[in-house]
Symmetry: C2
């Protein structure tokens, strides 16, 4: 198994090869600036034969003139000069290299393809480990390696392996805001030397990582992916978003990362057989990450719905069923207890439960959760919490989120309990309020989703993954 | 055709029958309070035999003691007393009645059903027009009839006919925040006397209404719905959300509005044949309303995608195709012009167009829109605008939304041009900023959606509706 990639994520000395002085361009200088802003704890070396000082740091004319051999080189020089830099890396024994530069096979020219072949052959000859070209490279908040993104990020159970830098950045930021940190992420670009599979193999055996999120457009070796994914998904979930599923998407993918995206049906079948969770949007990806990072396995697909409003109960049931879950009738014993507990006026006892008291008292909500979690037909619970507005003549304010979080934690039901805080409605204040509440739940280690649909789909992914694992375990007994 | 329902939406004198003094309960008092807060311009009469003054208004013991016959009675007394009130309405010639009270067939008891039958027979005998029971009744911002909701609302092209008060409230508020006002809305509840179809017939011929949104759980006469919907949808779109599509949803619906929800497949086929646009969530409903209220008909399903980022271009293409649109290759002439216009460095000319210049200059964006709208293969355009963050080393700020709106208006392409402002990512500030920008676009009469998926689905509904109409027109020539 691949175990030589760890140094990419914990460099003490980084050389940035090709730091220009122009403030406006994307490249070596912007990486340097980000590292400085995020207080990278190691040493940064700038390489530029035409400068002596940039942003307060001494500048070296080339890698050979550095006082030591850095742990990592970030190569930002124009494509045509990349081979020369790699030759130099080989000479000084610098093996870990990230090539940011684009202009290789993805631009579709002969020259681009030839340059990329040169990268591959130099790497082979000199034993270089290369991420890229045409990508954002490694990311690791615990090491201060956070040159991407608008936020510093935080360590946590997530790993992201991706063929798109911007999509990776969005997922790591999204997860961060919901209280889920990232252990390691990598944007692999064209994957000329090290590709998605190398990092999948490496991260699959990394004990700090509990959830692997994958964005993939193409692969060279389907069999290797299948074998790897099947093995890894037995111990940790791989949540994959495949770009270029459609013909047009595939055409676009070839000008993005230079590869062929392949047949959708083959991918889907391979993913399914290997136990890979398939998603189709950033939201669905994040929702699944949140569920897998925070929830215990559901024993069955039955969901108990606690919500407000008659119409909402109807459409929420429809949505859960549509997403592949069940909304089972409570057992006789549960119904008896519900009828004894739920007030007759203004509420409807059953599943869905339309009961406004769950909204105004967290302690009462806790009692209801105890009651329904005791029913074996209920594998999980979704609690829908509308945000209180001066709407529908509702004067009472809901109780506080910390009190609800405390109730859910304390009662510790060993069944997934998630919340829905729907704040869509065009109102910027409501949007911000909803996002804040969902963030508060996430930081309290309870998933909160913006819609029933998104909650139901995330729970469905969670259920199917564990159900498959259980079947495998039973078969192997 | 039904033309006697207009007085429900323009009452000058409203009697609220059953105004209690208890501040906390939902009912007559909360309606009175809402009317007072929203400065209802007509006169409000409170009926309560045990009080003389409530909230500064004189209270009358019964309808017969009022100085005049009101235009509308809102009946809020307990279910068992409703028949007596209706008899009195009949005696004084008060024909327009909204029954707020619940506790009829929807609670599933014999007494409930009998009371509802009494309502029907008194209405028949006395010629009463009744909305309800068990509902929020009529809503019309132009008449100050806005007793529901957290906001006053505004007049506009939308009509909502619904079996759920809370769902209606959410749609009208949502539309309001995006700059789409409501002409008339009605929550029909159990529909004992006047049902969904009566209001569909009435609103279908109302010239102020350009888009009809329908939330329906059950119907008594499928044939009538089909004939009505087929006729109305020739001149205005009916966007329908069917609650109780699944068996569990249908079971829930019967305890919500007392009816049977029926078979999903039959509904779907009937909707399709009648030209009704079918949606399955509040968001999809709103997205379609926005498209139909603001956009001209697309001539074909080809969409030109203007966006940012290689990975995004790949998955955005996938999403549009998945939603039923095409992402056609530009014509030879268009490609030639794109290559002459789009900068080579950092951009990819084609469809999708990955071109950062569209992001920093509204004038340049206008040029690109001219260029691609001239291509007959492009039936519509989606412009994806990420919100600028200090991410990905992007230092330049995007230009202002008013400048973009002005460009789109001025160039007047006669093809749907919509924006995507995706602000999902867990960050409350970003969520608020995204909602504000979408609101600004909406108020500028340009739809802006929170995701490519939602934009693509709304455009697909728009295209399919007009494509069907065109086929009908061609057949009838």
């Amino acid at each position: 198994m691949r175990n030589d990639l760890a140094p990419f994520f914990k460099p003490n000395h980084i050389a940035i090869v090709g730091v220009t002085r122009s403030e406006s361009s994307f490249g070596g200088l912007s990486f340097l600036q980000k590292f400085q802003e995020s207080n990278f704890p190691g040493t940064l070396y700038c390489i530029n034969p035409k400068a002596t000082e940039i942003r307060g740091l001494p500048v070296y004319p080339n890698l050979s003139s550095l006082p030591l051999v850095p742990d990592l080189a970030i190569v930002c020089v124009p494509a045509a000069h990349v081979p020369t830099v790699l030759e130099e890396c080989g000479r000084i024994g610098l093996r870990y290299i990230h090539i940011l530069t684009s202009g290789f096979s993805e631009i579709g020219t002969d020259q681009g393809r030839q340059l990329e072949e040169q990268i591959a052959s130099i790497a082979k000859e000199k034993g270089l480990l290369i991420i890229g070209p045409n990508c954002m490279g490694p990311y690791c908040p615990a090491s201060g390696l956070t040159a991407w993104g608008a936020i510093p990020g935080a360590p946590g159970p997530l790993s992201v392996i991706s063929q798109s830098g911007s999509i990776t950045q969005r997922l790591t930021e999204y997860a961060y805001f919901l209280g889920i940190g990232t252990d390691k992420a990598v944007s692999v670009g064209n994957g000329t030397v090290l590709d998605t599979f190398d990092f999948l193999e490496f991260m699959g055996q990394d004990e700090n990582i509990r959830v692997i999120a994958l964005y993939i457009e193409n692969m060279k070796d389907g069999r290797r992916f299948f074998d790897l994914a099947r093995e890894i998904s037995k111990s940790k979930p791989i949540i994959a978003w495949k770009g270029g599923k459609t013909e047009v998407g595939a055409r676009t993918a070839s000008s993005h990362t230079g590869g062929l995206a392949g047949e959708q049906v083959i991918w889907e079948a391979a993913f399914q057989q290997a136990g890979v969770i398939q998603v189709n949007s950033l939201d669905e990806w994040m929702d699944a990450v949140l569920a897998f990072a925070l929830l215990s396995p559901p024993s069955n697909p039955g969901v108990f719905l606690i919500g407000g409003g008659g119409g909402s109960s109807v459409v929420n049931s429809d949505t859960c069923i549509h997403e592949g879950l069940d909304v089972p009738s409570p057992s006789f014993a549960t119904m008896k207890k519900l009828r004894e507990t739920v007030p007759i006026a203004g509420s409807i006892a059953g599943n869905p439960l339309d009961d406004w008291q769950t909204y105004v008292s967290s302690d009462y909500l806790g009692t209801i959760l105890d009651l329904v979690c005791a029913d074996p037909a209920m594998g999980m619970v979704i609690v829908s919490r509308m945000i209180a507005r001066k709407a529908f003549h509702m004067y009472s304010q809901p109780d506080s989120i910390p009190a609800i979080i405390e109730q859910v934690k304390r009662r510790n039901h060993q069944k997934p309990v998630v919340f829905v805080v729907d704040s869509e409605g065009g109102d910027p204040d409501l949007a911000a309020q909803g996002a804040s509440i969902r963030q508060e739940f996430g930081k309290g280690r309870i998933p909160a989703y913006p819609s029933i649909k998104r909650a139901a789909r995330a729970l469905m992914h969670l259920y199917r993954y564990h159900n498959r694992l259980n079947r495998i375990k039973r078969r192997s007994l």
